[in-house]
């Protein structure tokens, strides 16, 4: 009967068995003693406030994880971007060899280069060489530095204020890089003259790119902004 005392205490016996054990405990002093000790132990444990409830911070963490699976909680986006960038530089070195052939993978190669430049600019804090939200300041700044004149728009009223511009080297030539902000996201828009036809939107390493051509110019927008907002940006810019 002794081995039945704990299952009895744990409520794991059927009612018949339960009654039998209870009778037995009443008659057997050693069983009775053990039963009391076990009861006491349980009472101590339950009275002991030994239960660890989840801290609120964990609740928030778990909630944000299950709502954005695949994303780590963002502590410091810049740091994360820098890490992504250094990882990406390694990847892109490999990509240089893979995408050398100038065929339809060419656009992918440019996408890699563009992302690389975008990340590098944020890593080094070298976002813009001309700081201005005024397109009449930014556009003239490029003359003399480029052999073409980029279309510069300020989409501030639409939520994408111009932040400035710089010159980058890409696809074997100097290109204009325009920087826009949306909330706390940075969008870099690269543009240069090209007869190439554009593919469309794609995602690399969690960064979105949108590509289009207009009036003999090619445009590449890259950002960690979500795809639909980036698409909105490109639609506004096109029109």
């Amino acid at each position: 009967m002794q081995p039945m005392i704990e299952p009895y205490l744990d409520g794991e016996l059927d009612p018949n068995r339960q009654a039998q054990v209870l009778d037995h405990i009443a008659d057997c002093s050693s069983c009775n003693e053990e039963y009391r000790r076990m009861q006491q132990l349980r009472a101590d444990i339950r009275a002991g406030n030994l239960y660890f409830s989840a801290p609120d911070s964990l609740r928030q963490r778990v909630l944000s994880t299950v709502r954005n699976p695949g994303k780590k909680p963002r502590v410091w986006p810049w740091k994360e971007m820098a890490m992504a960038a250094s990882l990406f530089l390694v990847v892109s070195l490999g990509a240089n060899f893979v995408f050398m052939s100038r065929d339809r993978s060419e656009n992918r190669f440019i996408a890699q280069e563009i992302l690389s430049e975008h990340l590098r600019s944020m890593m080094g804090g070298h976002l813009v060489d001309v700081v201005s939200s005024d397109r009449h300041t930014v556009k003239p700044w490029f003359s003399g530095k480029l052999d073409f004149s980029p279309t510069v728009k300020d989409l501030g009223p639409q939520g994408f204020p111009l932040s400035g511009g710089r010159v980058d080297y890409m696809d074997g030539r100097s290109v204009a890089a325009l920087v826009f902000l949306h909330n706390r996201h940075v969008i870099t828009l690269f543009t240069w003259p090209s007869s190439r036809s554009a593919s469309d939107a794609s995602t690399h390493n969690g960064y979105n790119t949108v590509e289009w051509t207009k009036d003999g110019m090619i445009y590449w927008a890259v950002s960690d902004l979500n795809r639909s907002d980036l698409q909105t940006f490109s639609n506004l810019y096109k029109n």
């Binding site: 081995p3 132990l41 406030n49 030994l50 660890f52 778990v62 994880t65 699976p69």
Partner: protein
Amino acid sequence: MTLFEKTMLPHLDSAYNLARWLTRNDPDAQDVVQEAYVRGLRYFDGFTGGDGKAWLLTIVRNTFLTWRGQQKSNSLVFDEHLHSPNARPSNPEEAAIRSSSLRALRECIDALPLEYRETLVMRELEELSYQNIADVASLPIGTVMSRLSRARKRLEDCMTAKGEKS
């Protein structure tokens, strides 16, 4: 709210409580729970209804075992002492508990070997049935019963020993 959130978020306290007793410290317990929810979300298709708490605790336990395996292989041997609450007086709440008479009880549970500790916690704090514990730990019910019994015996002995010392 998704079905996963509806089914699994109510058991967050249980998940944390088990993880906290298994890891014996707060930061590691939080990481284990976080990872367990990520895994749970991934495997939720395999959840056929039934006891959500037992299902989640199974994942918490497995996540803990993986985590502990990593601790061991990370050149540093998993140091039971380092991970015991004695080495980490992390918050005032803990300090208060330790200064009270509960200190002995907590220390004695923490000192139990893992297989006894987890069984005891699932039974006494999570109030799982033998069957649920058997499911969570993939054990026959008989083994659950004997582990639980040994856990209680050891706990009593430990408490007695501490009582005699003080």
